[in-house]
Symmetry: C2
Amino acid sequence: MRTLNKLRKYGIYVLFFMLLFAMVFQFTADLRQPSYPVFKKVEANTTNRMIIVVTPTYKRMTRIPDMLRMANTLSHVKDLHWIVVEDGNHTVPAVQQILERTNLPFTYVAHKTAVGYPRRGWYQRTMALKFIRSNTSHILGKDHEEGVVYFGDDDNSYDIRLFTDYIRNVRTLGIWAVGLVGGTVVEAPKVTDGKVTAFNVKWNPKRRFAVDMAGFAVNLKVVLNSDAVFGTSCKRGGGAPETCLLEDMGLEREDIEPFGYEKEKDREIFVWHTKTSTPNIVQSKKNATKPVPPPETFGYFVEV
Amino acid sequence: MRTLNKLRKYGIYVLFFMLLFAMVFQFTADLRQPSYPVFKKVEANTTNRMIIVVTPTYKRMTRIPDMLRMANTLSHVKDLHWIVVEDGNHTVPAVQQILERTNLPFTYVAHKTAVGYPRRGWYQRTMALKFIRSNTSHILGKDHEEGVVYFGDDDNSYDIRLFTDYIRNVRTLGIWAVGLVGGTVVEAPKVTDGKVTAFNVKWNPKRRFAVDMAGFAVNLKVVLNSDAVFGTSCKRGGGAPETCLLEDMGLEREDIEPFGYEKEKDREIFVWHTKTSTPNIVQSKKNATKPVPPPETFGYFVEV
């Protein structure tokens, strides 16, 4: 009681020190602010799902710049594990360094396309699915119980919101529009009463899942509950492997959660199937009977 | 004196409250941590220079994805003002929204190419230079006294370090290597004893500044001390405008500060002159005598 009385009497000093402390902390808090601008739209991971992005890649002149741009995009997204699979016998130090600079958790491995597979990343994505199944707890880490798997190629263009607003919220199978793909300006699911009943695509619209690799993501539990992989061919997909994979995972059209269809017009596209032009490099052809020497790089690293 | 004695007596309570406060603040500081990963290499702006990036742009099917990727890159860099100049009669809401989401300070204006200018961004960059000269204090803001001007196109590929390690440190005229440009895998300044004596380029190497638009940046004071702009032609540049601009700014080869030449081999390239392929869109040609209708976009926004 005596202590309380005294405290009441000298409370003014206590308050003064508390205020002083608060002021000092407020000041240092300003200094602790991140010194770089950030996208307004990057939101907290309210679902606690880990995003697992699978990217097959291969040596070409434009690969390093393509990977740079994709790294600059993905590094805005929190709780994302990037699995990059090289179509080759070994990984490439320059790619490894790009991945390290993202500060993201990542896996970079090399699996040269096996005999019988087309050289279109199918084998690399198959190896990634197997890696995900046998290293699930490593990829999820101790902070995550759920995940979503997305196949994102290194030359596509991504809006950050594809990850924060679409992929992060996929409970089973998410599907959305893709720009500049399949010979059209946009491919999109056709949505009636919130359900996907057909696909607005030009090529092969009768497929159960007429969707490009960039246009869907599946919840990790779907991946873990099946042993479906990309095979060497897909007849039901008219040659494209997407519908075979999703059918082999036991999915039906009713399982689709469509994203981004709500507006009547000016709907936004969050992923674009861009391609980087092959540069027109002047080759020196002094003697046609000898093989053309590789272009001069003046000590700079270019994958020629 | 009486007060001090009492304070000494009840100092324990004061200390207790101070500690409590510190603990609460420490706890909330953890919550205030950025919840997204960031590039390790983004460093403090020790020079206090503002980076001013000038980007001419124009309507095309791949423009939105190109601008998206560039926005994702630039938004990693602090103290950067992005000037985007539309070659058209008015700005485009979809581009405006991309710029707003970067959280960067930016200027977005429309200047349709004037008669006599080639449609290659020269007029838009000229308008940007005039804007910089008449709005210097607005661009610099109250926290900056110096700046660096860089011409960065929306389809190039940029390493974040181009801005943090190269452009930020330009005192007069900085020059560095550019990948996949001028018909070669790399164009670079030739450096002897720290000085640029020639240029490792295939096309027109005799120019005083044989450098691509993406390969140099000039300190803001150089821009402000001249009224040089991009004209309608540049004979000294063999048609390319870079050397005319730099010569008109009163610069000599001795003014060049070369970047990134130190290593003998495996030198890194921080900017690539990539081009996005024009997508091969299937046009419906039901009746050859009538004009072809624009492609179906199903309510999604695509610049067709």
